[in-house]
Symmetry: C2
Subunit: 310 residues, 2 copies
């Protein structure tokens, strides 16, 4: 097995830039390719700004060193041809994914792996026609990947079983938190869990049980405080004297009752969406969204620091 020293970033919007930081932080040589004209002039200042924010938050000691690990390639072949690992983060449209995947496959070194950042498409929908599909798979991050470590690793039916294992080892090596899926499923794990909670949130709102703000509070001042450092299984494991099975025996029937009540009604009702949006826009005008996203990233950094020190 070849060590992974050089990583190619294909597509360097916010997601690709975050990936570049992840790999540079771990000492990898990072080759960035973005098809936009004048890509380096656009992208480099954004990466510099992100590194400055991390430094201010105590999450980056040496931004110049990290930046020195990165360089920009003029062509796809220049970036991918020298790579041991490729992270594709192009625009989330199936025809774009199909085209870029074939182009990467055509120049992929014979030992290299290519992961796609797609959040919505199964790999089998855009990797089927690639010659090197046995070494291609989905590596789904959350934005921004340099602050949110989770990465979902999802093989296609054609992926060589050794490939997700190597990809997982790479993610662990660079400080990400890999989740290995056995096979494809719509939404992978993360969006399915998020969707299940959102379904219930929209149903409670539609039926007038509580306001959107109060439902948000229930998570950010209750459930989410724990879920920032323990998953749902570990949480219930600590909440019964003898652990998880004990908890399921005591409380499983109660939870099953909630589910039965809801089975017929798991869509996001338009009136609930309209009400939640109206509440949000009253709390935060659309013009304030960009600043609030910066606040979110600052909070993520503070919580990451708290988790690191714990």
């Amino acid at each position: 097995m070849t060590a992974i020293d050089t990583v190619a970033i294909v597509g360097a919007g916010l997601l690709g830039q975050g990936w570049a930081i992840v790999f540079a932080r771990a000492g990898k040589t990072v080759r960035i390719f973005d098809a936009r004209d004048d890509a380096e002039a656009q992208i480099r200042p954004q990466i510099v700004a992100a590194l400055a924010e991390m430094q201010a938050a105590g999450l980056c000691d040496a931004p110049d060193d990290w930046l020195a690990q990165m360089s920009f390639a003029k062509t796809l072949g220049d970036a991918v041809g020298a790579a041991d690992y490729v992270q594709e983060s192009t625009f989330e449209r199936i025809d774009v994914k199909r085209e870029i995947s074939a182009a990467i496959s055509a120049v992929l070194p014979e030992h290299a792996i290519c992961g796609s950042s797609t959040s919505g498409f199964p790999g089998s929908a855009f990797l089927d026609h690639c010659d090197n599909r046995a070494r291609m798979l989905v590596m789904h991050p959350v934005n921004p990947p340099h602050l949110v470590p989770i990465v979902e690793i999802v093989p296609t039916p054609w992926t060589d079983p050794a490939v997700p294992v190597r990809a997982r080892a790479l993610m662990e090596e660079v400080g990400q938190s890999p989740v290995s899926l056995d096979r494809e499923i719509p939404g992978f794990v993360l969006n399915r869990l998020q969707g299940a909670l959102l379904d219930e949130a929209f149903a409670l709102l539609a039926e007038g049980y509580a306001s959107a703000e109060d439902i948000d509070r229930t998570v950010r001042d209750g459930l989410g405080l724990r879920w920032a450092f323990m998953g749902p299984f570990e949480t219930i494991d600590l909440n019964a004297p003898k652990g998880l099975a004990d908890y399921a025996e005591r409380l499983g029937p109660m939870f099953a009752g909630f589910a039965e009540q809801r089975q017929a009604d798991r869509d996001w009702r338009p009136e609930a969406v309209a009400r939640a949006d109206a509440e949000r826009r009253e709390a935060l005008p659309e013009t304030g969204l960009a600043d609030r996203r910066n606040w979110r990233d600052a909070m993520l950094m503070a919580i990451l620091r708290a988790k690191q020190q714990g």
Copy 2:
């Protein structure tokens, strides 16, 4: 409207002790009644220990001052008769709740409110027979309430509508985060949201898509990092260019698809419970649960500090 200066704590296990800290922290006079023999000798050292932990975590400047706000009553009448607000936190069994509620009602000053900490019973199941049921309701905290600020306020059909409004103002005054429910629903908001996510987690585990550990990672290194400071609605509000309605339009159909696939199958399958428990016990023997709960509380304190500084 009378100001709330004196609070009675009825039942002082871990939950009641946490409530005593919450009210003392806010400068209230706290009268504690617990039916156990030698209650003060058992309970006071536990509160002293909890305050020392908060002080070490930077969440309590003056533990002695907080302790000085608290005193122990010999009888229920001694505690409740002088109270403006009563927090009942006795053992979670319906006959216990019915009996203590009637006893509190019988000595409740005519201006006072009584909230029950029940996590599982609707107030209408144990307050119906109380003379003062118009001033009684559910005030559901999460353990430990001095570290997790959420409180669900749930009126019964008989609760005077002014009472939940006063109770909410009190919770805001003492630094808790109140959630106002319009009416009763099994599981209130918090356990319904938790249950929806757990349903999906157990289903993914049962079908072999991922391990319990990897599903936990997806939350603690992904979704939960955000949910520790933003609710589910605010999270998606920041994840589409024009906010929540924009997000629902783009991604609602994808999420609806997950739900349809699951409708027939929302119970916690026994084999999934057994598998999750086996994984947990391999990661942490039952003898390690107590230490891990202490770690959980330390992490909660670190994240609370991070949120306060943000």
